[in-house]
Amino acid sequence: MSASTGRARSWAARLHLPTLAALLVVLGAWAVLSWRYGAYVLPSPLAVVAGLGEIVRTGEVWTHTGASLYRILVGFGAAVALALAMGLAAFLSRLARGVVHDALAVLNSTSVFVWIVISIIWFGLSNWAPIFTTLMITLPVVASNIVEGVENVDRRLLEMGDVYRLSGHQKFAAIVVPSTLPYLVAGMKIGFGLALKVSVVAEIFGVTSGIGYIMNYSREILATQMVFVWALVMILVMMLVDKLVFDAVSRRLARWR
């Protein structure tokens, strides 16, 4: 009997039943507050659902999500490539490791807004402004993780490689890369979340597509429900990428554990 209640509990947990119950309470409160304060301040849940249906039907959702994802992929992709180069430098030279550490400390302390302003000055009102901002904000996150991974490679395994006369390339491929991969994936997971949040902010300035642009535009034309709709789209994109990409990769990496 305890087994059957245990199974019931695990089914309830898998379907997120407690979360769904909490969501119902929040939706109820939302509906009441929306009715009390009016659609301009807080549109009703139904208006948001209707808005989502609308942009899916017109295809507008793909245009703006696509534009945002394109900028994220270019900016974040460049950040990952640069971070890999920094990790490799840190692995190959003690000197480079010190420089990389200091550079990352500076980048980590720089505000998003600094990069937004600078990128508008440098790249004007173009695609490159949000791309550059995304690059500069996600680079330190991904690179810090990779460098930490490189530093945490088990010295005893490297010594084993020396004992058996593995070449530098063989040690790198067999020992360094596999032990750094989990750090890279963790860094990319955090970095991608940050990229989505940051690039959307950067899109408020100067571009005419993307989730950030359309949210700000909806606010200007007093279509508050569309602000909520696009926020929902952003959340869905984030959760989907997390589940479909990062969870799958993490599971694959952990197969030997």
Binding site: R156, M160, Y164, R165, S167, Q170, A174, S179, W256, R257
Partner: protein
């Protein structure tokens, strides 16, 4: 391969090894004994070329061992921990160390499987280290060391982490493998019973800074009990000296 340790000494902040000399003919099973902290592991690392000696020299078949030098002799090392790569299967772990020998992939697989079978791991080739017991991991590490057909096999308390039963099994296995392959083995242990059970030459080191306290040939079966007794007395004296020295 003939092993000659000639006046080897090592200083860290304090002198750890004063001067140790002994030699072993090809095919000997040499056991290094001594109180904890007397430099047994350090001496083994010097012989393996993992660390330079402060004084003296190690010769393998009259060729000096130079730390960090890419010499051509094959030295297999079994560490206190298994040091297997957790993301590779047991077979891949063994096959990996065959790559520098220039064997084609198919041969690497075959050699790896043969040595895993020799170590009693047939059927476990495709398991990852995390999925097998500690004793099996250490066997895989031994299989890896033997797969390169080493001229000298260095073993640093390889069974320290095993329970008494597995220890006994592994001692017999190593002894059997040694008899079958005729390799020269240098084996560090703190267990006198283990040394007497497996070694042909027992080197008892003194307290730090260490010298050779006694060098004993171990081939007369009848005298074993007395030998264990003698060695126990010796090691207790050395432990007392080392602890007395430390507190003074």
């Amino acid at each position: 391969m003939k092993l000659l340790v000639a006046g080897v000494g090592k200083d860290y902040l304090i002198p750890v090894i004063d001067s140790v000399s002994f030699h072993a003919e090809a095919g000997e099973f040499v056991c290094l004994l001594g109180p904890n902290g007397c430099g047994k592991t350090t001496l083994l690392r010097i012989v393996g070329g993992l660390e330079p000696a402060t004084r003296g020299a190690v010769l393998l078949d009259d060729q000096p061992v130079v730390a960090g030098d890419a010499h051509t002799r094959r030295v297999g090392v079994v560490f206190q921990e298994d040091r297997l790569l957790p993301w590779m299967t047991l077979e891949q772990n063994v096959a990996l160390v065959l790559r520098p020998l220039g064997l084609p992939a198919a041969d690497r697989r075959a050699v790896a499987r043969r040595h895993l079978r020799l170590a009693g791991l047939a059927g476990f080739e495709d398991y990852h280290p995390g999925r097998v017991s500690g004793g099996m991991r250490q066997r895989a590490a031994i299989a890896r060391a033997l797969a390169i057909e080493p001229d000298v096999l260095l073993m640093d308390e390889p069974f320290g982490a095993l329970d008494a039963q597995n220890r006994r099994i592994m001692q017999n296995e190593v002894r059997r493998i040694w008899q079958e392959t005729g390799r020269t083995i240098l084996f560090v242990t703190h267990s006198i019973e283990e040394a007497v059970a497996v070694g042909t030459v027992l080197v008892m080191l003194s307290a730090r800074p260490s010298r050779v306290r006694a060098l004993i040939r171990n081939d007369v079966r009848a005298a074993r009990a007395a030998l264990i007794e003698d060695l126990n007395t010796m090691i207790m004296e050395e432990v007392e000296r080392q602890q007395g020295g430390a507190s003074a």
